[in-house]
Amino acid sequence: MMKKENVVIKSVEQIALDTVEMVVKNPYISQKAIPGQFLHVSVEGHTLRRPISIADINRENKTITILFKMVGSGTAKLAALNPGMSFDVLGPSGNGFQTEGNESSTILLIGGGIGVPPLYYLGKELAKQNKEIISVLGYQTRANVFSEEMFRRLGKTFIVTNDGSYGEKGFVTDVIQKAGYFDYYYSCGPLPMLKAVTAKLADKPGMISLEERMGCGVGACMACVIPTDSEGGYKKICSDGPVFHTQEVSL
C-alpha cells in the first residue's frame, strides 16, 4: 500500500548528461516496492509532486535508487539536494510490472532514455526467476547513455543512439530483430517509442509503462487518464498503471 513517507538521501551522482542517480533510504518503501512502481516526490516550492520511477531496490540496506533527467525546475531542485537531506514521497505508487505467472523463458526489455531505469529493477527480478534477458536500450546520443554495464550483467544488451554516436544507429525498433528469439517483452520510454514498439510487436505479449502529467498521483483527480476498450472507457495511469498490458490501453 502506498504511504506518505520521508526518504533520506544517501547519495546523489550525475551519471550522464543531465541525468542524476539518487539513492534514498526508507524502510517501508524498500520492502514493499515492485519493479515499475514510482515515487510521487514532493519538491519544495512546487504545487504538484513529481512522479519518478523506482530504478532499483536494496532490501538489505533499505535503499531505493531513482534515476532522473533534469528537464525543468522540479528535477533541477531535486538534483541540487545533498546526502543527509530528506524529502517526502508518496510510494510505492501505482501498479508495477507483473512477473509472477509469466511462463515465458526469454524476455526482451526495451527502454528508451529516461524510460530505461525501471527496467533495471525489473530485469534483476526476472533474472532471479531464471529468465533469459535481452535488453535493447535507446538513447539520443553518446552523452546520454547510462546503466549499460548493469544491463550487460543481466544478459545480451544492445545500445542504440539516434545519431549513431554510440552503439547502433537509429531507434530501438531498428534493433529489435537483431535481438533474436524472445516470448515476452517489457517496455518503457517516450510515447512515440512505445507506439512504434507496440505496433512492431503487435503479435507478442508484453507490458508497457506509460507517462502522463499528474495532479494527485493517487487516482482522485482524473488528470492522468488513458482511453481503454474496457467497461469504464478509461484507466488512470497513476493508480491503474503506470504499467499496462499492451492490449489494455489504446495509445
Partner: protein
C-alpha cells in the same frame, strides 16, 4: 460543545473542513490514507446526467503557486454515483455534498432530481462555474439571469438545500451572488477556478490539451478572499469558501472574510493528509488569534 461545529442549511458539520469538488473524487483513494469520518463533509466530484469521459490529456499543468486543470467533468454519471459512490461514502460519519453539473437546464434538473432517490446526500453544490465545459456551462456561471434560472430549476427539482458555486471570472461577483440568492439558493460556494493558460515553449502549444484550464491553489487565494468579503456584505446566505487553502491560518482568513465553512482542493495533491491536519490544528489556531470557536470567527474581519 465542539468548538469546531457549525450548522448550515442541511448540514450539521462537526468541523468546517471539507475536500473541494473534483480534488477528492468520491473519497475512495483518500480513505486509504485516513478515516474519512474526520471530515466535516465531503464534496463529491461533479455529477452529470450521463457518463462523461472529459477532455483530452494533458489535463493539468503546474503554475507559480498554483495549477491549471481541464479535467472536463469526467464522471460515471449521476445514476452510477448514486448506486456505487454515495453508499461507499455513507459508511463514514460525515456529510455528503453532491456537485451537480450539466450542459443544459434539463441536464441540471435531471441530475438534481436524481439525488432525491437517496437519503444519503445532505446538500447539493450547484456547479454553474466549471470553465471546462464548452456547451454552455460557462454561460450559466457568468450571467446573473442564467444563474438565477438554473438555481430556480434545481431548487424546484430537489428536496435538498442548494449551494451555488460561483465563478470568479466575472466583472461583478456580487451581482451573481444576489441573483442566485433571490432565486432561492440556500448558500454559496466560492470560488471556482480562474481561467488561465500556459504555453509549452518547445511545442509552442498550450500545455493543457483543452487550451485553457482553471487556475487553483495559493495563487488565487487573494482573489477568493476579496470576493467572499465583497459578497458577504450583500447576501445573508452562508458561504462555503475555497481557493488556495492549505493550512489552518488560511482557514481562519476565510472565516474572517465571511465564509462559514471551508473547502480544500489543490492542497490535497501535495499533502493527502492536509484536511485532517487542518482539522487537528484548527482549535489551537482559533485560540491563538483570540477566538473560542469557528462560529465566533465567521465574518469577524474588521474592515
Amino acid at each position: 460543545m465542539n468548538n469546531l461545529a457549525i450548522s448550515l442549511p442541511g448540514l450539521e458539520l462537526k468541523n468546517p473542513i471539507m475536500p473541494a469538488s473534483g480534488c477528492f473524487a468520491f473519497g475512495r483513494e483518500y480513505s486509504e490514507f485516513y478515516d474519512l469520518s474526520k471530515l466535516g463533509a465531503i464534496i463529491m466530484k461533479a455529477a452529470t446526467g450521463t457518463e462523461r469521459f472529459g477532455n483530452p490529456t494533458p489535463r493539468v499543468a503546474e503554475t507559480a503557486s498554483g495549477m491549471l486543470n481541464a479535467i472536463g467533468l469526467q464522471n460515471p454519471g449521476v445514476e452510477k454515483i448514486i448506486e456505487k459512490e454515495v453508499p461507499f461514502l455513507a459508511q463514514y460519519d460525515t456529510s455528503i455534498i453532491a456537485n451537480v453539473a450539466g450542459s443544459t437546464l434539463e441536464e441540471y434538473e435531471k441530475v438534481a432530481a436524481a439525488f432525491n432517490q437517496t437519503d444519503q446526500v445532505q446538500a447539493l453544490e450547484l456547479n454553474i462555474s466549471c470553465p471546462n465545459v464548452k456547451e454552455g456551462g460557462i454561460q450559466f456561471g457568468t450571467d446573473p439571469f442564467m444563474a438565477a434560472k438554473v438555481t430556480e430549476t434545481v431548487k424546484k427539482a430537489s428536496k435538498l438545500p442548494v449551494y451555488v458555486k460561483l465563478s470568479p471570472n466575472v466583472t461583478n461577483i456580487t451581482d451573481m451572488a444576489k441573483a442566485v440568492e433571490s432565486a432561492g439558493a440556500d448558500g454559496l460556494s466560492m470560488i471556482n477556478t480562474l481561467t488561465g493558460m500556459q504555453i509549452h515553449l518547445p511545442s509552442r502549444k498550450p500545455l493543457i490539451a483543452n487550451k485553457t484550464g482553471g487556475l487553483s491553489g495559493p495563487a488565487i487565494k487573494p482573489v477568493a478572499i476579496r470576493m467572499i468579503y465583497e459578497v458577504k456584505q450583500h447576501v445573508s446566505i452562508p458561504i462555503i469558501g475555497m481557493g488556495g487553502v492549505s493550512n489552518a491560518e488560511d482557514v481562519l482568513e476565510f472565516l474572517l472574510a465571511g465564509a462559514s465553512a471551508v473547502a480544500v482542493g489543490t492542497a490535497n495533491f501535495n499533502n493527502p493528509f492536509v484536511c485532517p491536519e487542518i482539522i487537528d490544528s484548527l482549535p489551537e489556531t482559533l485560540n491563538r488569534y483570540g477566538f473560542d470557536s469557528v462560529k465566533d470567527a465567521i465574518g469577524k474581519g474588521i474592515m
